[in-house]
Amino acid sequence: MKVRFWGVRGSIPSPGPKTIRYGGNTTCIEVRSDAGELIILDGGTGIFALAQSLLAELPISATVFITHTHWDHIQGLPFFTPLYIPGNSLRLCGAHDVVTGTGIEQVMSVQLQYSYFPVREAEMHARIEYQTLRVGATVAVGDARVTNTILNHPVINLGYRIDCNGKSVFFTGDHEPYFNIYEPGDEDYAEYQTLIEGKQRTIDEAVAGCDVLIADCSFTTAEYPAKRGWGHGTFAASIELARRCGVKQLVCTHHEPTRSDDELERIFAEALAQCRLGPADPSVILAREGLEIAI
């Protein structure tokens, strides 16, 4: 398998001289199976550059897995150029939205309202198919299998594990490690602790033994207390998850939009030092636009 990063930024695109090394586009990851099947994880603004690169190999058949429908993970979808060209096909997979009661098809229709975008879906000439995923389901994409797990974010966020010929990569999308909403001593504290430990075990099982874990590392440990409940992870928590699950390599992503390249490298170095990684631990790197990993 091959993994290539087209967008690594969280929340909002942040181009400019201070983000030139890691990139300012929001989340989009391209995964190629051994047989060359095209899997796209999230459609943030990074998907536009990916679309340009695909124009050389038309017609394409792509399967997009949306972790969740916040803007920074979907905003590039209408700009995915192959959508406008007959002969291409796109399958869009994602979660059911419990608040609106709609399936993943709304990810496009919401963005294509006429006041916000000039083109209607009917004018997109590629074949578009929507697949609302059952939680825990596995979807076959050629020689790859993609299995989702529900993670912890303000909207339903599916993490995806892609398996292909014994190799695997897991992408969290946006995820905050669970915390107990009760204080020790509260009547419900113990029950809630049991619930979140059970849920964490399910996630650990889904991540177990992955070659590559791509995880939401928005915050430092020092920043986190002020951001608790926002639905994002820390470097330390992701390193801990990778260690616990026997992951070979951790790629830290969802960089804060206000973080300059220099600052990102500085806090990353600090996080690594605090976690005291040993030789048996996973290797840990920062995601950047253009980074390619062969598994």
Partner: protein, 289 residues
């Protein structure tokens, strides 16, 4: 009833869809959610006291579209799976429907219904801890108590005229209202409550306990036993809603579990005055007249 079961189910589901929640929870939800940092436990504490919101949250989280690998039986569990923000948004959309009026064409006393549901819920949880530890989950028993009579509130909204007659008949005969419901409506509140819970794929034990809470012949099961005993004690303590007060000589509930001395079971509840006071403070505030 001349309509088919699926038609009735569909109509009942629509009634519940449009049913507003109780005044105190609507008021509290609107109040605490103005603050972006409202604490999740505060929100859970409010939802858990409102049968309408609880039912609707469980319906969403157990829905076939989502098809979670496990059945979800509590609000805490719903928060773990869907996240507190999603639960907050669901609660807000329910709060936006309005406030359940304390008066209705059936003359059904919503406040007494809520008082009975809340005390039964609190007692069922405590009974589970004392008498059924390890066999059922105390939180699940709480939910069973909170939702066991939901069928009545559906009758009051869905067929107020017939339910008015039911209430008059049961006051006259001094028999539990499910007798008059069967006679005048053709189905009682246990059937309606269980039908909805089943339609929305609630856990089977919860559906069963709602269905069988007036059936002495139903097989003994931990949650059923705790619910029926809690229901009985709630009536004995004068919070029986439309049911007549407990009378000496009623069929005892699973004596193998609870023994034969009802006073001892009541004593095992611990600080029941506190549970009653908590329920009362929730039911009294903000009732619209």
């Amino acid at each position: 009833m001349t309509q088919t079961a699926p038609e009735i189910e569909r109509k009942l589901a629509i009634v519940v869809e449009r049913m507003p929640a109780f005044p105190k929870s609507v008021q509290k939800i609107l109040e605490i959610t103005k603050n972006i940092n409202c604490t999740p436990r505060e929100l859970v504490g409010i939802i858990e006291k409102d049968p309408v919101i609880t039912l609707k949250v469980l319906r969403v989280v157990n829905s076939a579209q989502l098809s979670l690998p496990n059945k979800i039986t509590s609000i805490n569990q719903s928060v773990v799976y869907l996240g507190v923000n999603t639960i907050k948004n669901l609660a807000l959309s329910i709060a936006a429907i309005g406030i359940l009026s304390s008066t209705n064409a059936a003359g059904f006393d919503i406040q007494r219904y809520l008082m009975h549901s809340l005390t039964t819920a609190a007692f069922a949880r405590q009974l589970c801890t004392v008498y059924a530890a390890g066999e059922a989950d105390p939180g699940d028993c709480y939910i069973a108590g909170l939702l066991h009579d939901f069928g009545k509130i559906v009758f009051a909204q869905f067929m107020p005229e017939q339910f008015r007659q039911v209430l008059a008949r049961s006051a006259e005969t001094r028999l539990p209202s499910h007798h008059a419901e069967q006679e005048l409506i053709g189905a009682d509140h246990t059937v309606v409550g269980a039908m909805l819970a089943d339609k929305w794929q609630f856990p089977p034990a919860l559906v069963d306990s709602i269905r069988s809470h007036h059936s002495p012949a139903a097989p003994a099961a931990a949650m059923n036993d705790c619910l029926r005993m809690a229901d009985l004690i709630s009536r004995q303590l004068g919070n029986g809603d439309t049911e007549p007060p407990y009378r000496e000589g009623e069929t005892p509930i699973n004596p193998e579990r609870f023994g034969t001395d009802l006073d001892r079971v009541v004593a095992a509840l611990g600080d029941r005055d506190k549970m009653i006071a908590e329920a009362l403070s929730f039911t009294q505030a903000g009732m619209s007249r």
